[in-house]
Subunit: 219 residues, 2 copies
């Protein structure tokens, strides 16, 4: 029993230190990029031993891949799960856009959405980190498309809309707004994105669709 | 006269070497980011002396700023000037989107649109490079907005459209398509962006507006 408890404690401590390392790694990557991560730097900035950090992540690439996986979890917690609480249909499509914009505006990472940075950094480089980032992007687009398709199936969005096109369109507006808000240190792009997405959804909604929260037009 | 000719030749040679350095710098920055630029690396990769490169750009920051300025020139040549050849109004708004997508798809830089990378890299960092990138982005959005406002003034786009919102919307769709095309090594996002932008412009066009090239809907 004592041996088991000791092992449990050690595992729990290991999990906590892994968590601390990954939280810091996501923060660095959101500002400076995944290429700025290194075992040496994380150890120095977190006052841990290099061998301790190395025990969790055997190489820079493993560290980058673990950071991408951790960022997917954060994304699911802050964007996907809140949106799933909205009823299926038009309101869930709106909730995906709305949660994404909330997440981008929150001070979760210093450098805004982790994936905006990671996609721009790895889009033109081959390798496992690129593939992990591309898979995360593809999963998100598919989830968004499925929400639109469900709204069409429920008769809340008109049937002549291509679900992948509409999902791409709404997501693009939110993404660029998130990036502009950061670039200009200005929250106005979030309001602009909500206004445009809300107007777009109003146009494609059927007469039977429930109301979605609408944003006022610009003066 | 001889002295003048010698000076002219030296200036011309200096301008050529500056051009070669900046072309390579833009290419590196589009793939790996502006932070990957250094006088040492450029000298090594171009087989030039470090002091020769240093004579053109006195610091890493100066090199980064000169690279941003050079990228603005490339952008004007490939996007702004071709679009200006289209008649003012709806067709010029379409031409801006169309030229941007052409430019993103061309192998001008190995890493796709220089500014997609630069914005993501510098959006969360203060400093002169950030400010130069933000200014370039702001200029582009204003130019796009002015083209939409002109189309409204000419009676080709309905008057209840906010020019800045529509410009932002169309540009966002093109930008994210450019990034996805690179990330997935797939040209389909370009076609999707043209389809969405063309449909969007068809909706906001007045009855008096000229036709714009239209893309077929997805099957």
């Amino acid at each position: 029993m004592t041996v088991g408890t000791t092992v449990d404690k050690r595992l729990a401590r290991g999990e906590r230190s892994r968590r601390v390392i990954l939280d810091h790694a996501m923060d660095i990557a959101s500002v400076e990029g995944l290429e700025s991560l290194s075992v040496r730097r994380l150890a120095a900035e977190l006052d841990l031993s290099k061998s301790g950090v190395f025990a969790h992540f055997g190489s820079k690439e493993e560290l980058q891949l673990a950071t991408v996986r951790a960022a997917v979890e954060v994304f699911v917690t802050h964007v996907v799960k809140p949106a799933r609480r909205a009823p299926a249909g038009l309101r869930r499509v709106w909730a995906l856009a709305d949660s994404w914009l909330d997440y981008a505006a929150k001070p979760i990472f210093r450098g805004g959405c982790f994936f905006l940075s990671a996609v721009a950094e790895f889009d033109a480089r081959p390798g496992r980190v690129h593939d992990a980032v591309a898979a995360a992007r593809r999963d998100w687009l598919r989830l968004y498309e499925a929400a639109v398709a469900e709204a069409i199936a429920l008769g809340e969005i008109v049937a002549d809309i291509d679900p992948a096109d509409l999902a791409f369109e709404l997501d693009s507006i939110a993404r660029v707004a998130g990036q502009d808000a950061l670039l200009f240190s200005d929250a106005a792009p979030y309001a602009r994105a909500r206004r445009i997405i809300s107007a777009r959804l109003t146009v494609v909604a059927t007469a039977a669709a429930p109301a979605i929260p609408s944003a006022p037009r610009a003066p």
